[in-house]
Subunit: 195 residues, 2 copies
């Protein structure tokens, strides 16, 4: 048990660095960007509240765990902007290598579970993974909308691109995708997003 | 369903501000303090991994949810330093008022659940709440130890005070408290903590 605990604590200490990985989305009213740890917290809280809107029944606690760990690969790989499609493919492999490194710190059973949950999230083939991905995609839209355009404005991202990149939200939740489309339309109306 | 979703999104937006509440503990290798949202993420991840060390069997997913929301009251009340005992009592009421305000944003059933889980955490009368509190108390000790004393050094906190304030860790997990005592002893040996 002592060895297990030491391995777990080594992992916990190594994950702490997710707080130093900065994303593009803003923390409202601060002028700073959010980091991947506080993003993961916010999306996990969303999972607890919004599970009823998933297309298929989901195990909300599995969705939460998946969200808590889905960005850990960024500790070595950094974050890639959602609208930078060219960078996203190479990024997947770098993140995977980081997850393998972190998993090796844990007791075998937990390391395997970490890897399996991370891969499940990436592959988007279960209802939990699809719903977790919907929430992960929706959260920055809320932040961009409520900062009068946020990163859309900053990086000249247009309405058609937001719609294309965010449309997989529908695979996890048609309800959330309907709401997201309304948010996009409102953002265009208000001048937060160009067409 | 639409009304429910709008209420849920209002709440999600209001909770975003937990990222602007700063605590005393450091983010390692950055020179900055951690905020309560990234702290909550880190402790929730610990819950997933360390549930096997709880004194009594715990529903790990309930522990995780409790941790994700346990600091939301700080959005209005701010954070109080763990070693500032005088401030802690008044703080409880301010946090409660904030939780009541936030719960009113949610659909009734979810607002009630939020309040109940927050109170359960505060009262520490269930195995889940005691274990969640153990993790919440342990996490900053790891950060202080691995920053050569962190806030202990900065605020002249001595070994006897750390031991007294942190001893309730044993109520959730004797295993984690044994480990925490060893961490305290090591910190004294290394000169990170005064006696």
């Amino acid at each position: 048990m002592t060895d297990r605990l030491e391995q777990q604590l080594d992992f916990i200490l190594a994950t702490e660095a997710l707080r130093t990985v900065f994303r593009q989305s803003p923390v409202l009213n601060t002028g700073r960007k959010e980091n991947s740890a506080e993003h993961s917290w916010h999306v996990a809280l969303m999972a607890w509240l919004l599970a009823e809107h998933a297309n298929e029944p989901v195990d909300a606690s599995k969705v939460m765990v998946m969200i808590l760990l889905h960005d850990l690969g960024e500790i070595d790989a950094g974050d890639v902007f959602a609208y930078d499609e060219a960078a996203r493919e190479a990024h997947h492999e770098q993140e995977q290598a980081c997850i393998v490194r972190l998993a090796a710190l844990l007791p075998d059973d937990q390391g395997e579970k970490l890897l399996a949950l991370w891969e499940e999230f990436e592959e988007a083939e279960t209802s939990e993974a699809r719903f977790a991905r919907s929430l992960d995609a929706l959260q920055p839209m809320l932040l961009n909308y409520h900062s009068e355009g946020g990163t859309w404005r900053e990086h000249d991202v247009y309405e058609a691109k937001v719609t294309a990149v965010k449309s997989p939200i529908a695979e996890g939740s048609e309800t959330l995708w309907s709401r997201a489309k309304r948010l996009i339309a409102d953002a265009v109306d208000k001048g937060f997003l160009k067409t």
